[in-house]
Symmetry: C2
Subunit: 148 residues, 2 copies
DNA sequence: CGACATGGTTATGCAAAATAACTATTTTGT
DNA sequence: ACAAAATAGTTATTTTGCATAACCATGTCG
């Protein structure tokens, strides 16, 4: 007698790439949240910190644009990081409406530690994929993103 | 003079697959939401309807498990579809705690129309990818999902 | 100078997602 | 057979993410 494998209840949905994308994303992000918890960071605060570390002096409006976050929502995110002295708002003398954002030493250090953890997380969750697979995946995702 | 391409402000983040995944997912899902609007369906109600059409008699608890939705949150989703007479709750005589869910004729019809639209949407948003690419992507996403 | 645009903020609303606690029914263990 | 535990569904509540409108301060342009 052959082993009869009954199809999952979402078999039809699995024919949609969008559904697969969402499922993979859920696994990935809930797992990543756990990785970031020890640093008291969420995905969005990690992303924000990353962009500030890599782009000293970046403005909130640029950040909002970059991370696809509404400006009003970015305020509390920046507040949170600033209150923890991980980043600083410095008034821009040339345009006194704007702030330049800068990571503090503590912010840079935390970011480096968190980055190591995130990289470890990625290699762990992607352990079933080869380097080549990951490049392929990245390229395919980029093409979807550009399809906008 | 060579054209100088300055790196995007999220260049570092783009080295993370998780970030790419999220960005691609955002494009995909906000676009899909527009596709579903004419049918007055959201991603989750479409998914629910799909599972009910494909699995007549499925229970809410199975549905919640399948779609990775908390049971309490599924109640209002099922309510919504039931109020629109797209699905029906029928008491299970064998286990009178449970309901079996069934799509009505109208529900099945709407689902078929919506499915056509979603399939069209997918071919459109994935138009830059070959059949082979899509299969590859699907397989890679499945492996991430299983990495749980 | 006055009109308009831009950077940041506040307030607010809405929907998604999670948790606790409850009723009704079924299953389990002795 | 019966008490205890488990399961199906529900209600109520909270938290969070995401979006919009309206506002202040500053800068730009006619």
């Amino acid at each position: 007698m052959t082993t009869q494998m009954k199809p999952p209840l979402d078999a039809e949905l699995r024919s949609f790439v969008g559904y697969r994308l969402k499922r993979a994303m859920n696994v990935f992000s809930s797992d990543l949240a756990i990785t970031l918890r020890p640093f008291d960071l969420r995905m969005i605060t990690f992303s924000t910190l990353s962009s500030v570390v890599s782009n000293p002096g970046i403005r909130q409006s640029q950040l909002a644009e970059t991370l696809a976050v509404e400006r009003p929502n970015l305020v509390s995110i920046v507040d949170e990081l600033a209150n923890r002295d991980l980043i600083e708002r410095k008034r821009d003398d040339a345009d006194r409406r704007a702030f330049g954002l800068f990571a503090t030493e503590a912010g840079t250090a935390l970011f480096q530690d968190a980055t190591r953890a995130v990289m470890q997380h990625e290699t762990q969750i992607l352990s079933a994929l080869s380097e080549q697979d990951i490049e392929t995946l990245t390229a395919l995702l980029a093409r979807i993103e550009q399809a906008k």
